[in-house]
Symmetry: C2
């Protein structure tokens, strides 16, 4: 049943029409669409779990255009869904189901505005694709460390709005830790200009941290000044088989200490994850001859301009780990091609799960010291209630963060499986909370986890978040139905 | 004229008496004083610039006691001045002049609650002295990097409330970057329990960053979970004479690149600072035979358990720098005693300035790439309006942060000098703002810089801060007259 959103809304909310016409004038003919087919990619989440209609998609070119259109929306009480690369795993950039919202895509604001290698900063528009940003830093002999599987299409504005994590958090922190300054359009259309590249600024409350991770519910991030770092000159990667999760955590501690904290990546991967990637993704190869239950991808990085010795150190760490039984087999990348082959396995984890069929994602964290205990405890309880479930738990154990994903059994019924989402997640989350962990470590809350947030988060936190939202967006027009 | 604050207030505000009596019951006989002499150290700022009376000083032992007394204050509309080690350089922990406030000292809440070496975290009460916290981490073979001159008396709660900087920001970030979790008593007496040691937690707005750096105006920090790091196994220090500020900045860039980002400290010091320290502080020695205009204290640090080679690297960096003229003389510490001797010069900078006489502190930051330009531009303009002023500009240039302090001339009149505070600071701050810098890089706003904040900060930021303050402390009882 094809119809345009505009035609639909004309009947329901005639008062919107005038506002929408004025927004069209602000962004110009190339800056909007209400054609249903063109709008589809903006209205569907990456995993294809939800689809919701919108009045139209606007694609402004400047911060001023956004400020003007937000002002119009504020006057007309039209809600706004800010959207970057739309790679959220929690439906964070998808409208609600009313059809009465507009999607503001940052895709045309994709410029790198400035690279300052001496100040170790890069200034970018929010629609800049993460990969392009990494490349711009690299061209200036610098390094932007935020890295995640979706980096080829994810946009930095979305990464910042969701405080993305990724594979380099251990050494460089989460997305919020990489931000020095922001420019944000507020709910009333005013522009907050915090676009400064300072390492230190104690002039009042730190407003940028409010916008970072608030998923577009307090303002629309339009540009950012980000930290860049000396470019790595040497990267040593090993793909190791470990006997269990406990051994992986112990190995991490040893590797941090012996390498002088040069560990940039430490990713846990179970056998089933490797199997799924090799089944669904072309040109993947198991780096080891035998099959093992668990693997870690470990990388040591140095940015020293002289020989850092990390290659010898990685070998020495692994050789000691063999002797003590922490590692049972390993391959060290001899060149960049081999290294990329290791990463291809890790980075296609989500994609191969998607192709394999339905899955329930639990993006959890616990203190690093309790991660092995968590892994086993949750698995025992899940297996009790559903023996046919498949566990694909992988991720950044250096940060205490596991994607504790539950995959449907090989010939399982999708709807029956997904219907038990709450039941399964409840089992996982109860253990997470009891261990002082987080039910959403890096993916955020979005649409999908809002109910869980309200259930698990303490009342004082919910009250504080509510009062901040009320004071900054009293009409509730910014990304409604997300987070709070 | 000696009188007790209580006697004074009995006449003015009889309604307070009942509340104060109930607060005394909450904290017990050892938990309060209203004896003027006992209260004096709490009512006077470290530099002796301001003194203000208070109703009484309470010294609670637990978070629950604080929660109860804040509830009573909220009911009775009595304002609260939270206080740690009272080492603020901006009068951040000193009452206003009404005499109608109570000081809540965290000094008796000084315990280290937990050290978790595997999770790389330490949990402490807010009154824990920074030095004690460093020592507790060290005992567990870990490292807490926050370090500043006042660390022997400053308390971590104050460090966090002001987002303290210090000498290791270049490598480890500011105080806020070291925090994983907080416990905070809110303005209505409720306890916000965010005391978790997670590297990743994206469940809603990041509330902890609101309290960090808000100088006790949004809540009273009572405990924190902090990041700790692998303990350094090797520290190499050099005290170098450089021809000018520009050379220092260039040297920093080279040192970061050649050392593989192992630079932990990079402090600029002018000759006059060294002279003042040697004049006023016992047992200080100039590490170099000749006199030079500028020095940097540089430290490379490694936590590798095997030889890291940083000692050779420091020598190679300096030897290249000699050849290119970036360094004109240098001493490398041969042992810990010599290293401590270098640090004694740097850490007594503020103390020796205090003994020497009146000074006007400008704790500014600009992008690192513009710091040399700033140094000269501001100095030329200042010398134009007052040729007898003495410049003691030192600090953390790796963070773009200078303590651009103006010292009274040798036989100058203190009152006449301090009367020109605004005039001098205006000259400095105008240049800071024009260069996109901060008028308070790490010291905060407190009482002293509030007027400047209102003058220099943009209206949108001030509005946002005001609305956050209103939503979290509507009666304005938390540290009134500070920041907002």
């Amino acid at each position: 049943m094809r119809r345009t959103a505009m035609a639909n809304i004309t009947a329901n909310r005639p008062d919107f029409i005038n506002v929408l016409e004025r927004i069209k004038q602000v962004v110009g003919p190339k800056g909007w669409t209400n054609d249903l087919e063109s709008m589809l990619p903006y209205m569907t989440d990456w995993r294809g779990i939800c689809r919701a209609e919108a009045l139209m998609v606007v694609r402004p070119k400047t911060t001023e255009e956004i400020a003007k259109l937000v002002t119009l929306c504020a006057e007309g009480c039209i809600s706004i869904i800010p959207q970057g690369g739309n790679t959220s795993l929690c439906g964070g950039s998808i409208p609600l189901n009313s059809g009465e919202e507009i999607i503001v895509s940052l895709a045309r604001m994709n410029k790198v505005l400035n690279v300052d290698p001496d100040n170790y900063t890069i200034t970018v528009e929010a629609g800049c694709i993460l990969k392009d940003l990494q490349n711009a830093a690299s061209k200036a002999n610098r390094y932007f460390p935020l890295s995640l599987a979706a980096e080829g299409s994810a946009m930095i504005g979305g990464n910042l709005s969701t405080n993305a994590g990724g594979t380099n958090v251990l050494r460089y922190g989460n997305a919020r830790d990489l931000v020095l300054g922001l420019e944000v359009v507020l709910a009333d259309g005013r522009i907050w200009n915090g676009l400064r590249g300072l390492r230190k600024d104690n002039t009042g409350y730190d407003l940028k941290h409010l916008f970072l991770g608030s998923e577009g519910t307090l303002g629309i991030i339009t540009a950012a000044v980000l930290k860049i770092f000396p470019k790595p000159t040497e990267v040593c990667s090993a793909f190791c088989a470990v006997p269990n999760v406990d051994a992986a955590v112990t190995l991490l501690g040893i590797a941090r200490a012996e390498s002088g904290d040069a560990v940039e990546t430490f990713e846990l991967m179970p056998r089933l994850m490797i199997d799924l990637v090799m089944k669904h993704i072309a040109d993947c190869k198991d780096p080891l001859k035998e099959r093992y239950d668990f693997y870690v991808l470990i990388e040591l990085v140095s940015s020293a301009s002289v020989d850092s010795g990390i290659s010898e150190r990685l070998e020495s760490i692994l050789s000691n780990a063999f002797e003590s039984g922490l590692v049972i087999d390993a391959a060290i990348a001899q060149n960049e091609t081999q290294r990329q082959a290791f990463w291809k396995l890790r980075e296609n984890a989500s994609e191969s799960q998607r192709i394999e069929g339905a899955s329930i994602k639990n993006d959890i964290s616990v203190p690093v010291s309790r991660i092995a205990e968590f892994y086993d405890t949750a698995w025992i309880k899940l297996a009790e209630i559903e023996p046919n479930i498949r566990l694909v738990a992988f991720g950044h154990i250096g940060d205490g963060n596991l994607h504790y994903n539950l995959q449907i059994s090989e010939h399982g019924d999708k709807n029956a499986f997904l219907a038990r989402y709450e039941e399964f997640s409840r089992v996982v989350n109860e253990i997470v909370v009891e261990m002082g962990g987080s039910i959403s470590a890096e993916h955020g809350i979005g649409r999908f986890k809002r109910k869980e947030l309200a259930y698990y988060k303490d009342k004082v936190s919910m009250d504080l978040m509510g009062s901040i939202k009320n004071s900054m967006d009293p009409a509730g027009i910014l990304n409604p139905g997300k987070v709070v």
